[in-house]
């Protein structure tokens, strides 16, 4: 067996993806509204693990440099932006999302191709910064530098890494910070947070997460109605607009189409599904469709991944909103032990009946990647399914060798074939 780059499209088009794209386009368009501040709104740049509902409840538009990195990556502009950041002193060994973000700040109106492709030309300038270190320690340094560059305030939500249990004093520490967070936002907006609006926003957040979880669960079916690339694109609103009621009907539409695929026995790919894999880590954004399409042509589908699962944790619904949020925002994949990752991946491999695991290892994201050699071995021991580690990057194409990746994946497929 040998891999050749597959030009022929074997993806089944998901019509509702257009609604997601429209929703995102509107979201970015609104963030660039020149009258936004006159309307009593402000802009915050936030990390993907930050408690976004609080911002939405306060009429603050959250924008995600990580998501911008993904967009710039998909538009194949991120490597250039990384190089801009490097020319300002940032090491090429640092997170490529961070470097892409710095590149866009130092080069705010990238001429081509990004502005032509998506019309963004960089994120709208922030009024404040919100960072949560529940996804990694890098965000702390990244946002400190953004704060220095823009000379705007930064709020850090500190969620120390979790062990096997969550002590009460841990939740006390986080709950206290969420109180400070509200005070910080009130100070920035010069008005009090409305409790009813906050409760409503939390409700909309739960609705979106519930729909998203249902969509992910439908991929347990054979053939899987969605592939990795579908989910990586579909997840944008549940990451960035969680709590905004406008995304609820968008996900209802997606769920309906995915359910229809399941009912009709239609898979994400138009060729027979030969191999089902789990994908671990952030995708290779600059090679997203080429990578998954070439694999799809061989009948490889990814019904599950660890990245999009991260947004399937619902906020609990009790009377203590802040403690609930403290538990939810600390109890996430990247803030937990490698043993938890091994257990979760093993469960997902079994639940989604995967034949193997593809671990994407990248120097850009040490929190996500370090420990994958052990995870791979232990997942195989627990599930009997093999895994392979492929080196790449989410945004910096200089760190990805396609040939090397194909060779390793090819070896995995041969191993599976031999065992069949």
């Amino acid at each position: 067996m040998s891999f050749e780059k597959e030009k022929k499209r074997v993806y089944r088009r998901l019509e509702s993806l257009q609604s997601v794209k429209n929703s995102q386009a509107m979201y970015y368009l609104q963030s660039k509204n020149p009258y936004l501040h006159d309307e009593g709104k402000k802009i915050a740049w936030v990390t993907s693990g930050a408690p976004v509902e609080f911002l939405i409840a306060m009429d603050i538009v959250p924008l995600y440099p990580e998501q911008y990195g993904a967009i710039a990556g998909a538009a194949k502009d991120s490597t250039r932006l990384c190089q801009v950041a490097e020319s300002h002193g940032y090491s090429p060994d640092l997170c490529a999302y961070a470097r892409t973000s710095f590149g866009s700040v130092f080069s705010p109106d990238p001429p081509t191709p990004l502005s032509e492709i998506d019309g963004m030309g960089g994120l709208a300038r922030p009024d404040m910064l919100i960072a949560g270190n529940n996804i990694c320690g890098t965000v702390l340094k990244w946002y400190q530098d953004l704060s220095r560059i823009f000379n705007i305030p930064l709020f850090l939500f500190d969620t120390p890494p979790l062990g096997d249990t969550i002590p009460n004093y841990y939740i006390d520490y986080l709950t206290s910070q969420l109180g400070d967070y509200i005070e910080f936002l009130e100070e920035q907006m010069k008005r009090k947070m409305d409790e009813e609006t906050m409760i409503e926003t939390m409700h909309h957040s739960r609705q979106a997460v519930e729909l998203w979880t249902q969509i992910l669960n439908l991929c347990k079916n054979k053939p899987s109605p969605l592939n990795c690339a579908d989910r990586f694109l579909l997840m944008a609103p549940v990451v960035s607009q969680r709590g905004d009621p406008e995304i609820v009907p968008v996900y209802e539409e997606v769920l309906s189409e995915v359910q229809q695929r399941v009912d009709e026995g239609l898979g994400a790919i138009t060729v027979p599904e030969n191999y089902r894999f789990l994908f671990d880590n952030i995708p290779i954004w600059f090679n997203l469709y080429e990578f998954f399409n070439s694999l799809s042509a061989k009948g490889v589908v990814f019904p599950v991944d660890t990245y999009t699962q991260a947004w399937s944790h619902q906020l609990a619904e009790t009377e203590d909103l802040l403690r609930d949020a403290a538990v939810t925002y600390s109890n996430i994949y990247l803030n937990k032990t490698i043993q938890h990752k091994i257990d979760l991946i093993s469960t997902l491999v079994n639940d989604y009946d995967c034949d193997g695991v593809l671990f994407h290892s990248m120097r850009s994201c040490k929190r996500y990647s370090l420990g994958q050699p052990i995870t791979r071995r232990e997942v195989t021991e627990k599930t009997g399914r093999p895994g392979v580690i492929v080196e790449g990057d989410m945004c910096d194409s200089r760190n990805f060798s396609e040939e090397q990746a194909w060779t390793r994946i090819e070896a995995l497929l041969e191993l599976i074939n031999d065992e069949r």
């Binding site: 300002h88 002193g89 940032y90 090491s91 060994d93 640092l94 997170c95 270190n133 990694c136 320690g137 890098t138 702390l140 340094k141 990244w142 400190q144 530098d145 220095r148 850090l156 500190d158 120390p160 890494p161 062990g163 002590p167 004093y169 841990y170 006390d172 520490y173 206290s176 910070q177 400070d180 032990t337 490698i338 043993q339 290892s361 120097r363 040490k366 929190r367 990647s369 370090l370 420990g371 994958q372 050699p373 052990i374 232990e378």
Partner: protein, 371 residues
Amino acid sequence: MDLIFNYTPHYFLEGYTESLKVIQQQGKPLLGYFTNRIPVEILHALNVNPIRMLSINSSVQGASERYIQTFACSWLRQIMDIGLNKGYASFDGLIFSAGTCDSLQNLSDIWKKVFPEQWTYNLTFPVLTDTEAAVEYLQNEFDTLIQNISQKFPENPDGFTLSNSIKLFNIKRVNLQKLASLVSERKMRYHEFFKLLLLGDTLPIETVNSYLEKKISQNEITNPPDIPDSPRLLLTGGMFDNYLLFEHVSDFDYLVTDDLSFGTRNFNFTMPQSSFLQGYAQAYLERTPDPTAFDMEKRWKGLENSIHNHQIDGVILLGIKFCDPDTFEFVSIQNNLKDLDIPYLNLETSPDLSNLQQIETRLSAFIEMIS
């Protein structure tokens, strides 16, 4: 424990892992730790010997690749290599600092998998340092640490007397401050001082205090060595511990002070002598922050004061390959140094000093430029 009095610091450090076996024979449990945030006084009061992990002396290179990727912090990979070579087998347990950097965070999980027989503990630090909630959190973390160590190593004939332990470690810090003054006054070479710093973290505290006092009195009676007057350099960076760099590259004699995790940040304070954990936790958080803490303004102020107090002509930024916090922080430090019009040199290396020659050449050129 007269071992150190019979040998030179160089000899002791060169045989670091062998020396650990001798220390272990004293009878107290040996607990290894990674960062300068670990509450050594608490460990000492619990009748264990806190010994800092050093990355010196790895004879097995690359064995760690089976468990941890090559882009992990090179200092931690070297530690893993030594561990795989049984270099830390003398330790009865290890205390990891969680909530610091991603590489160390993941290493603690990996270590548990690779060395399941060795007792390990994760002490988690808040990144915030200036809130009551952070103090309370750290106090609780310390309290939980005490309970866990008391269970694991219950033998403590003198009982838990924190204030006595604080007193002992404060003596060490004051002694190191005196020795640091000798370096600044050009009466002691930096590499000699740096070895004493490492010894200060790797020998039982009682031995360290006697030894440092002896060194201070020796230096007071001997003539100052022939050390160049200028330029006066400051070294900043993080987890660098290979003293051989400073021994081999003679231009490091221009160093008059540092801002390293193994260096000044480890002794430029004293702890309040009290048995109350709350005050202890608060004092810990009030120390000069590491690059992994939130309060960068305080961190920069500390560095700026050091530049001013030591009349610094140039700054060396010494990064460890694949250390994210250092690498990130160097960008803002460089910007601040430009504002102060202080020349700087950015160097990067790994614990095995694979680019020693390049460092020597660049440092020499830098000194020539600013002289």
